[in-house]
């Protein structure tokens, strides 16, 4: 990092979208329909990257739209088209760390701190051996370093950060200004470099995780009062139930 420039890697589409997974009547989950997708947190990471730098290289896993980050400011994209993402988040992190090392001299790595996989972004920092902050809601340059706000359980905390650093960025809302068609078309002309896990020197953890079963969640025991025909009666029943529980 120099006084003039910060080089960022923006990681996007590194997790499967659980909304697309299909659940059978027996509780079995079919992930084959769940594509790698950009989360709201990925979009928040893109905003943070643009606030920090004009020098952004994107890194993604899987097939799909490799121009997503290029349309949001990245100059080029490195992709691992066949990442074989499974149950082990450390594999995701090892692949991503290989990608960051391949990109080379990097100051800040940004990824969405995504509820779809709360493990991979922090494991990425560990793989790289870099200082890591998760729950980041704001990052900007200040002086010779960065000023980062992250969410702690007790409130927000502001930190002064000297790169290199991994920032896992938390979205506070859906993407406010998605790129227009012109930016998307221009992004598709930017370079894309395809890599394999072997190219990146990624090796799996010694132990592996296996899927041992899947079931539907236990049925709810909620007591539902019918309020459509008798609003007053349902309201009275609910208030009586809450008083009986001792919460009113």
């Amino acid at each position: 990092m120099t006084a003039q420039s910060v080089k960022c890697v923006l990681i996007f589409k590194w997790a499967r979208n659980p909304l697309d997974a299909r659940v059978g009547l027996d509780g079995a989950v079919d992930w084959s329909f769940a594509n790698m997708a950009a989360s709201d947190d990925d979009a928040a990471a893109a905003v943070a990257a643009r606030n920090l730098s004009d020098d952004i290289v994107a890194l993604t896993l899987g097939n799909g739209d490799t121009a997503w980050a290029a349309a949001r400011g990245a100059s080029r994209t490195v992709t691992v088209p066949d990442p074989r993402i499974g149950l082990d988040s450390s594999w995701t992190a090892r692949l991503l760390a290989g990608g960051v090392r391949h990109i080379g001299e990097v100051d800040v790595v940004l990824a969405g701190d995504c509820a779809w996989d709360p493990a991979a972004p922090v494991l990425l920092g560990a793989c790289l051996g870099w200082p890591t902050l998760a729950g980041v809601i704001e990052a900007r340059r200040e002086g010779g370093g960065l000023r980062v706000v992250r969410r702690a359980e007790s409130g927000n905390e502001t930190l002064e950060v000297t790169p290199p650093v991994v920032l896992a960025v938390l979205a506070r809302h859906t993407e406010k200004e998605p790129p227009g068609m012109k930016a998307i078309l221009a992004a598709r002309k930017k370079p894309v470099e395809k890599m394999t896990a072997a190219d990146l020197g990624a090796a799996p953890a010694a132990d592996s995780l296996v899927l041992c079963g899947s079931a539907l969640p236990p049925a709810t025991k909620a007591q539902i009062f019918a309020g459509r025909d008798d609003p007053a009666g349902a309201a009275a029943q609910l208030i009586a139930a809450l008083r009986k529980e001792g919460v009113l």
């Binding site: 988040s89 701190d113 409130g155 950060v161 132990d207 296996v210 899927l211 079931a215 009062f225 009113l248």
Partner: protein
Amino acid sequence: MSGNDCWVIAADTGPIAGMIAAARSLGGKITAVAAGGRALADKAAAAGPDEVRWFAPSQGSPPETLAPAVARDIAAAAPRVILSLPDAASRVLWAAAAFALGAPAAGAVTQLRAEGDLVLAVRPAAQGKALETIGSQGLLAAVFDAADITYTGPAAPVTEMRPAAGEDKFAAALRLAPGADDGAPEESGLRAAARVIGVGLGVRKRERLAWAESLAAALDAVLACSLPVSDDLEWFGESRVIGISSNRIAPQLYLALGISGQPQHMSGVRDARIVAAVNNDPEAPVFNRCHYGIEGDLAEILPALIDAVNE
């Protein structure tokens, strides 16, 4: 690898006792790492582990600077399982230890058990529509994300730990900004409230907020909202949003009005004692995540609830 021993990591407040209770199912010794102030170490000690190893960050440093020291300590003990609270700082320390051990890792597990030579972990899949059980014949590193419990047993002994020479290398890179304490992201008393009413998009019309306010006054409750009500409708500020990336609360009563019950929102009220919901959609997911509900039109139910409370 030592039996089914488990190390749990806490660098912030969270469901420590729930995490330790889940780890108890494995049958091994439980060691808690508390990375923070003495109060956090005492909280961890009172949550039911066999021992606590307390790492205090140096002045002006966040807990993440302890990652090399915590990872070295855990790797030396070589436990079979390491668990983390779901907060940002705990996960960073956990990741350093998981990587040092070379453990496969999983996010957001809710239960653990040992079966034969496997350690098994249950986690929600497909946005909570299913529960997957994953297993490892060797090590397992997992982020624990489930409700807390109350532990009433004796407190565990606390041993103060200090980073070895060179293990504070991150302290120069991560510094808490002096005088920039942003304080809590909420100033509405939301987190301490005994009763909270959440307003969702199903309320539909802003003028109905007056009813919600009347009901809140009658119940001595604090008003809060789902993310779209703040973000899209801007009826409330961000400080009133409940959800996994906003405010997580643990009131006696959470009453969800016109809230569909997406996991992102409901995770924020997981520790509420009683959840009640009013929604006009009988298929709304919130009805699978509440104790009591009314299926009906808020325009009719809200005034009826106010009358019922005031009777």
